[in-house]
Structures are given as structure tokens and as C-alpha cells.
């Protein structure tokens, strides 16, 4: 059992890094608590696999420390770390049977055969692989293979964390869901820390209690799926989480008015004060498409926008609008009529986020 702490961790693949862009992982501090189900979410190339490989010991970080229960493990190789890892493509030992595959990590450390049998049967039962035990692993389907590679992590008593590197990439959609539920079940039963790397927000939010969103080598937000949705800490989290992503306006404050380019935005006094006080030229207002109020007729405090087109997605529609020069999207439920030509928008104050230099700033609405 372990709590994994990353202390001032940074990593670069270059021998002579000069700017922050040269780092795959920029200096970060992070704690994965014992027994948690975590997701590491981010686009391709944001450094999430690098981070995973540093935790498992396949990579040694350029600077900073990896601590397991407070003990520095930087120099320990993967075989010394009590960590299991499941890779994007199922790794199985082709010539062995499923049973031998599952027994492999135990036999490598000379576990008595009776104990091996006991553990293998237990894990096979949980993973629903009992019927396949005598088959050659090579002839299994992709999802069964992925279960076998997961099982090799589970059979070990000493494993304190299992790391998943986009494990469902090669699995059929309907099986993905089943396997994800299985993962959740295993997590509850074994109380193992699980870190799950993915670029799919749905996968992340169904699996994890808390999600770390990574962007350009940094964890920009660590929170529950709800927190990521309602109060994104960084504009990237706003874009990346939610479908479609958050709307952002480059705003400025002039002559007592809040302007997005040349269009005045109608916002409450709290938001106005916050924008006025911002000490930067990079100020953005963000609002989720779900929270944009769309009216067909003019309303008090409504901003007139052009309706460009709408996309009917069954239970809801996405309306593509243009407010002045800024495009934005709004999500409206199926019982509401889609406006034609013009629409009148309102942004509820408590749903607006203010971003100065891409990071969220709290707004005092009083």
C-alpha cells in the first residue's frame, strides 16, 4: 500500500534544456493518495505517459523526487517498486497459457506453487477468466488479453498501485464499457491505488474519483469531474472538458464597459469590477455552452447574437452563434425551440469564469 508523492518533479528528454518548452514534465508537486482511483487526462503529447513511466520507474526523472510512502524511490528500477502497469496494447506472453501468464510474476519471485495456484484462481475468478485458463494467451480476444495483463498486476500481493496507460484503446466500444466497470469493481475490492491515463474525458470521469488534467507538461487542475466541469481552473480545462468545450471571450474594460472586441457584454457589477482590476492584457471570460441562456425574443439584459446554424443531437441541440465577432456555442434542451436568424443571450453571473493569463481568478459577486 502506498501513497505516491511527486516532489518538484521535472523531466526532459533533452540533454541541454533551455526553455520550459524543452521539458516533457515541468516542475510539479502532486500526491496520489493510497487507495484512490485517479485519472490523468490530457491530449496526446502533454506528458502523461512520461509521468506514468516515471512513477513506475521505467524512466528516471531529470530532477525532483518520486516518493512512495515518504521514501525516495528515484533510483529503484520498476522491478523494485511494487507497481504494476497495463499498457496501451495488451502485453501477454504468447506461448504461455492464460494460467501461466497470470502465474508468471509470482513464479519469477519463486512463490510456492500452492500459493501461486490460489492467487491465480482468485484473480481469474474476479476477471472472469476461469474458463480461459488453459487456453494459449495468444488466441484470446483483445479485451481478454487486456484482462490478462491486468491480472498479472493483481496476482501480486505486494502491488500497491496499478498504472493504466490508455488501456482501452484497442477494445471494441461495447466491451470498453464492460471492462471499465470491471476496473471499478476491482478497485473497490482490492483497495489498490489506480492511476489511469487517457485522453478521453468520458473514460476519465467514469473511472476516476479525481482527475488530474495535464497540459504542456503540467497538471493544470486536479479535481472531481464535477469541479472540472463547473469551475475549470485553466482555459485549457474549459476547452478540453465538456462537449462542446467552454466558450471564451477576449475581454477588455473601456469607458466603464466590458468589451469583447468591439461588442459590449452585459455582465453583473462583480464581474465588471474583477475585469477592471485585472493587471494583464490577457483577460478572458468563459462560459459553458450549457449555461448560456438563449431566448428567441429580446429580454432584459439580453445580447443580440446571430444564429449561424444548429446541430440536432437528439435530446439536445448545439446552436452555433456569433456575438459581435466572437463565435460561441450554446446547448439547448429538446423542449426549447431553436431560434432562427437572431437570438438574445444572457450569461448568468455565477456561471461566468474569469481567466487572467489563462488561469481562473475568483470573482467577488458581492
Amino acid at each position: 500500500m502506498a501513497e505516491i508523492t511527486l516532489k518538484s518533479l521535472a523531466h526532459t528528454y533533452l540533454s541541454d534544456p533551455k526553455s520550459p518548452e524543452d521539458y516533457a514534465i515541468r516542475e510539479m508537486n502532486h500526491v496520489w493518495h493510497q487507495g484512490g482511483a485517479y485519472a490523468l487526462l490530457g491530449p496526446s503529447g502533454c506528458g502523461k505517459s512520461t509521468l506514468l513511466n516515471i512513477i513506475s520507474g521505467l524512466l528516471e526523472p531529470s530532477s525532483g523526487d518520486v516518493l512512495f510512502d515518504g521514501e525516495r524511490v528515484n533510483a529503484l528500477p520498476p522491478e523494485g517498486r511494487n507497481i504494476a502497469q497495463v499498457f496501451q496494447f495488451p502485453v501477454i506472453y504468447d506461448t504461455m497459457t492464460v494460467y501461466d501468464n497470470l502465474a508468471f510474476p509470482l513464479r519469477n519471485v519463486k512463490t510456492p506453487e500452492a500459493r501461486v495456484h490460489e492467487r491465480v484462481m482468485e484473480v481469474a475468478d474476479v476477471l472472469e477468466l476461469t474458463a480461459q485458463l488453459k487456453r494459449k494467451a495468444k488466441n484470446l480476444t483483445a479485451d481478454e488479453k487486456q484482462k490478462v495483463s491486468m491480472g498479472r498486476g493483481l496476482v501480486r500481493d505486494d502491488v500497491s498501485a496499478i498504472l493504466f496507460d490508455e488501456p482501452l484503446t484497442v477494445i471494441d466500444p461495447q466491451l470498453k464499457w464492460k471492462l471499465r466497470r470491471k476496473l471499478k469493481e476491482i478497485h473497490q475490492r482490492f483497495e489498490i491505488t489506480m492511476v489511469y491515463v487517457t485522453h478521453d474525458q468520458l473514460e476519465a470521469s467514469t473511472f476516476a474519483d479525481k482527475i488530474a488534467v495535464m497540459y504542456e507538461g503540467q497538471v493544470v487542475q486536479f479535481g472531481t469531474p464535477r469541479e472540472l466541469f463547473e469551475t475549470p481552473n485553466h482555459t485549457f480545462v474549459g476547452y478540453f472538458i465538456g462537449s462542446p468545450g467552454m466558450n471564451f471571450f477576449d475581454v477588455s474594460f473601456r469607458d466603464g464597459r466590458v468589451l469583447a472586441d468591439e461588442t459590449e457584454l452585459s455582465v453583473g457589477p462583480g464581474v465588471r469590477r474583477a475585469i477592471e482590476g485585472a493587471r494583464s492584457t490577457n483577460v478572458k471570460l468563459g462560459i459553458r455552452p450549457e449555461f448560456v441562456e438563449v431566448h428567441e425574443a429580446p429580454v432584459e439584459g439580453g445580447m443580440e447574437a446571430v444564429v449561424e446554424h444548429a446541430q440536432d443531437l437528439g435530446t439536445y441541440s448545439i446552436v452555433y452563434l456569433r456575438l459581435g465577432d466572437t463565435p460561441l456555442k450554446a446547448r439547448i434542451e429538446e423542449d426549447q425551440a431553436v431560434p432562427v436568424g437572431r437570438a438574445y443571450l444572457r450569461f448568468p453571473d455565477e456561471r461566468l469564469g474569469l481567466y487572467v493569463d489563462e488561469f481562473r481568478v475568483e470573482i467577488d459577486h458581492e
Binding site: 496494447f89 504468447d94 506461448t95 519471485v109 494459449k136 495483463s149
Partner: protein
């Protein structure tokens, strides 16, 4: 969609059939033709039936050549396959060293057979050959024209030198295609170096090794030019392999009937051994039927 039945479509395979006929079937049938007749000249021939085949199958000289041939092929396979795998494992994986080693290893494959024979002929000469001279200076009376053991060892050395690179090259490409995740998973599973070789590298090499072993078996079973140049089949007939016996019979003695029969037997042996080997390997990869149904 309606499927139209039109048997005239069979004509479309005619060009292929002609090509195969001229490249394989007709030449082979000529040999079959000779193998069942005794031909004296263009107008005089007798049908002999299975006579030549019986004679060949009972010829003690050919028995000896077949045994010698198997001994040779199995010996070179037993040396070249493990050695080739070993070399492939040791070869550098990237950088200029990889290219340099690759070129060095590949070199012997680019040399024509009879040139290889000539190189070794000179190499082993007692007066000017590096190997022959050195061994003699060291006090060993090395002489491939007098000692069958010396001749055998030299021919095997020569074949190993010439053809191990093929196995090494095939294995090298096979090893390169193993994703890193396998090695990483093995480390996490705490597998020993031997286990990594036995359960990851070797299984992933199976396919290239099947090709390699088949090629090497067929090649070595048909070996001709190199021993012919190096030892001429001697001393005595100690290094006379099948194709040399055949050439002597067909061209030296003009025994067309027996040599045709012998060619067919020779061909069938290669076909049979290759088929048995291939089937055995492919069966190893399947589930045991009974268990597979579980």
C-alpha cells in the same frame, strides 16, 4: 447483387497456367519422362517402369550420400540458428554502430557461392593460406585433401561463415519489431533475462525463424558449388553431397534414367522435410484442441 455464372471465365486463368507450365510443370515432366525410360539415342528407348527408382533406392553409395547430406544440413542448422540468434541479440540497436555492424554482418551474404569456395580454398592452403599456415605453425597437421575430419570441419565452418548472417539478419529484424512495452512489462513482472528471451524474444522470433530454418535447410541440402570448389567432394567421397553425386551421374556418366529417378527422390525428400517441419511448428502455436473448447 446477382452472381452471374459463366464458365467461360475459366479461360482467364489460361495465361497463368501457361506460365506455370513452362516454368515448372514441363521441365519436371521431362525429368519424370526420363526416370521411367532407358534412353540410348534419339530413336532407341525402352520403358523401364519403376526400375531406376528401385536401383537408386538400393544404391549404397547414394545411401551414404543421403546420410552425409542430412548430417551436414542438421549440423549447420544446429550451429547457425543459435549462433544467428545470439549475434542478433548482441547487435547494437541504434546509431551509427548499428549500421556499421549490419554492413559487416551482411558482407558474406553478398559473395557468390564459388567465390566463397575459392576464398576458403586459399584460406586453408598450408603454404600461403592464413588458416592453413597458422594451424600448421601451431603444430597441427591440418590438411583438407588428406583428412576427412579436417575437410568436414572446414566445410561446416565455411557454411557457418557464409550463412549465419542470414539468420542473424532475419532475427535482428524480428527483434526490432518487438514493442518496448513487452520489455517494460517483463521488468515490472520481474522476469529474468533468460525469461525475457524465452517468453518474449523467442516467441516473437518464431515466424522469422521458420523462414530462416526452411531456407537454410533447403539451401544446405542442395549445397554444391562451395564444397565442389573447396574439396571436390574428397578426400575419397567424404564430402560428396547429394547434388554432387547427382551431377557426376547425370553429366559425368550420362546416366539419364537413374539420375532422373534420383532427382525426383531428392526433390521429394526436400519437400517432405520442409512440410513436416512447417506443419509441426504451426501446430505448436494452436490451442490443444480439447482444452481450446473449454
Amino acid at each position: 447483387m446477382n452472381k452471374v455464372q459463366n464458365n467461360r471465365a475459366w479461360w482467364l486463368i489460361l495465361p497463368m497456367l501457361l506460365l506455370v507450365a513452362f516454368s515448372a510443370i514441363i521441365p519436371l515432366m521431362t525429368v519424370v519422362n526420363y526416370s521411367v525410360q532407358d534412353v540410348f539415342d534419339a530413336n532407341t528407348r525402352f520403358f523401364t517402369g519403376a526400375e531406376w527408382f528401385k536401383e537408386m533406392l538400393n544404391d549404397p553409395e547414394l545411401h551414404a550420400a543421403v546420410l552425409r547430406q542430412f548430417a551436414f544440413s542438421l549440423t549447420v542448422l544446429a550451429i547457425e540458428v543459435p549462433l544467428g540468434i545470439g549475434i542478433a541479440l548482441l547487435m547494437p540497436k541504434k546509431g551509427w554502430q548499428a549500421s556499421a555492424v549490419l554492413i559487416l554482418v551482411t558482407m558474406p551474404l553478398l559473395i557468390p557461392w564459388n567465390v566463397v569456395g575459392s576464398i576458403w580454398q586459399i584460406f586453408t592452403r598450408g603454404d600461403i593460406g592464413l588458416m592453413g599456415w597458422s594451424l600448421r605453425e601451431l603444430g597441427y597437421g591440418y590438411n583438407i585433401t588428406a583428412s576427412p575430419v579436417d575437410a568436414w570441419v572446414t566445410i561446416i565452418l565455411m557454411d557457418v561463415w557464409h550463412w549465419t548472417p542470414l539468420i542473424a539478419l532475419l532475427c535482428y529484424s524480428g527483434l526490432r519489431s518487438i514493442p518496448d512495452a513487452y520489455y517494460q512489462a517483463a521488468r515490472i513482472d520481474r522476469a529474468s533475462k533468460w525469461a525475457v528471451f524465452r517468453f518474449i524474444q523467442l516467441p516473437k522470433l518464431t515466424n522469422v525463424l521458420v523462414i530462416g530454418v526452411l531456407l537454410r535447410f533447403m539451401h544446405s541440402f542442395m549445397i554444391y558449388a562451395e564444397p565442389f570448389v573447396l574439396t571436390g567432394g574428397g578426400p575419397g567421397s567424404s564430402t560428396t553431397f547429394l547434388s554432387q553425386s547427382l551431377t557426376t551421374m547425370a553429366i559425368g556418366q550420362q546416366d539419364l534414367g537413374p539420375s532422373a529417378a534420383f532427382s525426383l527422390i531428392y526433390f521429394l525428400i526436400i519437400l517432405l522435410v520442409s512440410w513436416v517441419f512447417y506443419t509441426a511448428i504451426m501446430n505448436m502455436q494452436k490451442d490443444n484442441k480439447k482444452e481450446g473448447e473449454a
